[in-house]
Symmetry: C2
Subunit: 117 residues, 2 copies
């Protein structure tokens, strides 16, 4: 029997998270919205590009789960989502583990669990 790990991420979900972080404007949006909730138009004023451009960046971040949007009157309030950040951190942690060769010990641990149910 296979126990599903809730922290397991699908490839395309990971793709979206890292892809979303691969742009300086979007990283800055995440930082700002982790500090404070901000409307899209307030964000747009911070960058040297049009409102639709910023709107698209927010959409990319939202699809990646890095921010959420909440309607408030005529505004959409954008808020950074620390959970998605942590999931990316977990991914990088796994790379670190592999490099240290710890995967082998984890595999052995899981194998032992499977063998002794």
């Amino acid at each position: 029997m296979v126990i599903e790990m809730s922290t397991e991420l699908a490839d395309d979900e990971v793709d979206r998270i890292f892809r979303a972080l691969a742009d300086a404007t979007r990283r800055d949006i995440v930082l700002r919205t982790l500090r404070d909730e901000v409307s899209i138009s307030a964000l747009a004023q911070a960058y040297d590009m049009s409102f639709p451009a910023v709107h698209k960046h927010v959409a990319v971040l939202e699809r990646a789960g890095l921010v959420t949007k909440r309607p408030s009157g005529r505004e959409r309030i954008v808020r950074g989502n620390p959970d998605a950040i942590r999931r990316a951190q977990q991914l990088l942690d796994r790379f670190e583990l592999v490099w240290r060769g710890r995967i082998d010990r984890l595999d052995a641990l899981f194998a032992a669990e499977d063998a002794t149910p």
Copy 2:
């Protein structure tokens, strides 16, 4: 006098790192080459795509600093670079710090409200 932080990363360098990680094949190449050194042709055999396609993926990873290439006879041996991984981790840690800063400020706000009813 300003002391330059060696850990400071330029925007486009960060762009390249996250962009390189935003592809499942490339992430797998990084994992394989963190475990063992592998030639490009050996890598190519592991994926359902042409050698030039894998060669390009390796080039993207190399430009991002996530792998290094070492010539050995007619082969190019690819090796994962844990330093680049750590730099990406530092970036995500910074996001986490910003988030915690917000929490701290909210805590301070509530504490102040409690103190001055």
